[in-house]
């Protein structure tokens, strides 16, 4: 089956509209392994991809003051049983621009695969970016996902990032994001992962609140069951006057799963403030009993609570 058609089918399965994503008025880049399948620039959004044997490289430039109405789509995937995909992403968002990026990572077919992304992202002064990365895996558990990002937010910039891996077995996930937040800028990072089987999950996110009145939030919601293991490290540094940061970790453990959460805070300026909260444990008893008092079985109640937390 042609690779583009495989993307069409895979996107439909995960509830996306491929016609919309791959239309001429939607900026996008689509890559299977190290093969470029489709690309589209639109006025104000220049996408320059290149494919080599070593990987896919994509440079995305969003011009100053541009408001991108439709989401920019980044579709990465593998439809062979075994494969490797290395992605280098350079994203430059001009001052006062506004855009939403949806990254769809489709790995439901491979049994043994590695997907690594190295991203460098700059969000210009006054710009607003919403970035949503969703992973869809199969039942093999043989996928290795390694997203890395270095991100800089200029003065008054806003970045809202939402990472999720909720479908299928994770395999091995190793997230490492490093974010520098400038003056009056806002960064919010949310991660939602559900680990099963023998999944190994590591999420490390570091926010450096470097500018005056910089604000940041790291929010993680992780559930593990069976023998899955997760390590969540949320680091926030308040290094400037008026900087405000918060780390919020909630993790649910079922069966033989193991989770550790380390909300690390560091403040180097007396007028900065960083707070944290972490809750790890089995499903909350009062929540369970409340749902069971509506007639839900214990299994249905747990499912509802975990699904809500990861929503």
């Amino acid at each position: 089956m042609p690779k583009l058609k495989q993307f069409y089918e895979a996107l439909k399965v995960v509830g996306q509209d491929p016609e919309r994503i791959l239309s001429r008025d939607t900026a996008h880049v689509v890559a299977h392994g190290h093969e470029l399948i489709s690309e589209q620039s639109i006025p104000g959004v220049l996408i320059s991809p290149r494919a080599t044997e070593q990987g896919i490289g994509a440079k995305i430039v969003i011009a100053e003051n541009v408001r991108v109405d439709l989401p920019i789509h980044l579709c990465f995937g593998l439809f062979d049983r075994v494969g490797i995909q290395n992605v280098t992403l350079e994203l430059d968002m001009g001052a006062n621009a506004k855009a939403t990026l949806w990254s769809h990572c489709l790995f439901s077919v491979p049994e043994q695969a590695r997907h690594a992304m190295q991203a460098t992202i700059r969000v210009g002064a006054g710009a607003e970016m919403r970035y949503q990365e969703s992973h869809f895996h199969g039942t093999s558990g043989g996928i290795e996902v390694i997203p890395r990002a270095k991100i800089e937010l200029g003065r008054g910039a806003h970045l809202y990032s939402d990472f999720s891996l909720l479908t299928g077995l994770v395999g091995e996930l190793d997230v490492d994001f490093d974010v520098t937040v400038g003056e009056d800028a806002v960064a919010e990072f949310t991660s939602k992962v559900f680990g099963h089987g023998k999944d190994r999950i590591r999420i490390k996110e570091r926010l450096v609140l470097a500018g005056r009145n910089a604000r940041g939030l790291i929010k993680s919601r992780v559930a593990v069951e069976n023998e899955a293991m997760a390590e969540v490290i949320g680091i926030t540094e308040g290094n400037a006057p008026g900087a405000r940061g918060h780390v919020d970790c909630t993790e649910i453990v079922k069966d033989q799963g193991v989770v550790s959460a380390s909300p690390l805070v560091k403040v180097t300026h007396p007028e900065a403030k960083v707070t944290h909260e972490a809750a790890i444990g089995s499903v909350d008893r009062q929540q369970m009993e409340t749902l069971m008092a509506r007639g839900l079985s214990p299994e249905e109640a747990v499912h509802r609570i975990v699904a809500g937390m990861l929503r």
Partner: protein, 240 residues
Amino acid sequence: MTDAPLLELRHIALRLGSRQVLCDVDLTLVSGEIHTLLGANGSGKTSLASLVMGCSGYRPVQGELLFAGQSIVDLPIHERAQRGISLAWQEPARFEGVTVTEYLSLGHPGRGADDCLERVGLAPDDYRARMVDRTLSGGERKRVELAALLALGPKLAILDEPTAGVDMLSLDEIIRVVESFREMGSTVLLITHQEELATHADRASQLCGGRIVFSGVPAEVVAHYKARVCVNCDGETCYA
């Protein structure tokens, strides 16, 4: 209201750790009745509610617990709920990622969410999509809990302090909510300190030191309660 007993507690005793929380409690609610349970803080009201609902750790050490003539003491919470018992907690749990509409649709409700929200004084347009999480105030969360029970339309609705945390001006609304349960044919076990609400019931009982010390028409029970308020009492001295 009929004479048929719906809920019967016979010589019920409950211990939590080393503490005797309920002692030789006899209480019968007939179908369609609104029954107020009065008592000072720590007298055992919420424990009694948790015992009837079947919450973890609230299994009686003595006595019989019957619902519609059948023992329910060995049934887990959800099976009691499926038989028609439900509870609106004094401090309801919060749920991330669950909207008010979704919360009100749990457990095969018999009544529409919008109607129930209106009955508890919440505008459906403003609340349908709200999350049942920390973004709701305490009073809003209590109202949503009452709406959820209204939607469910249980045979026995246990309302634990429905006015606690809800502003005083809303008392009339809470009374209308209780009336809504009556209209639906539900039996209500109403735990409250609010005199006006308490006297709205058909019958009342006073708990003191884990014992039912007085039962009768609500006005008399309220008068008894107000005249003989006691704290850390074993119930013996209050026994009428």
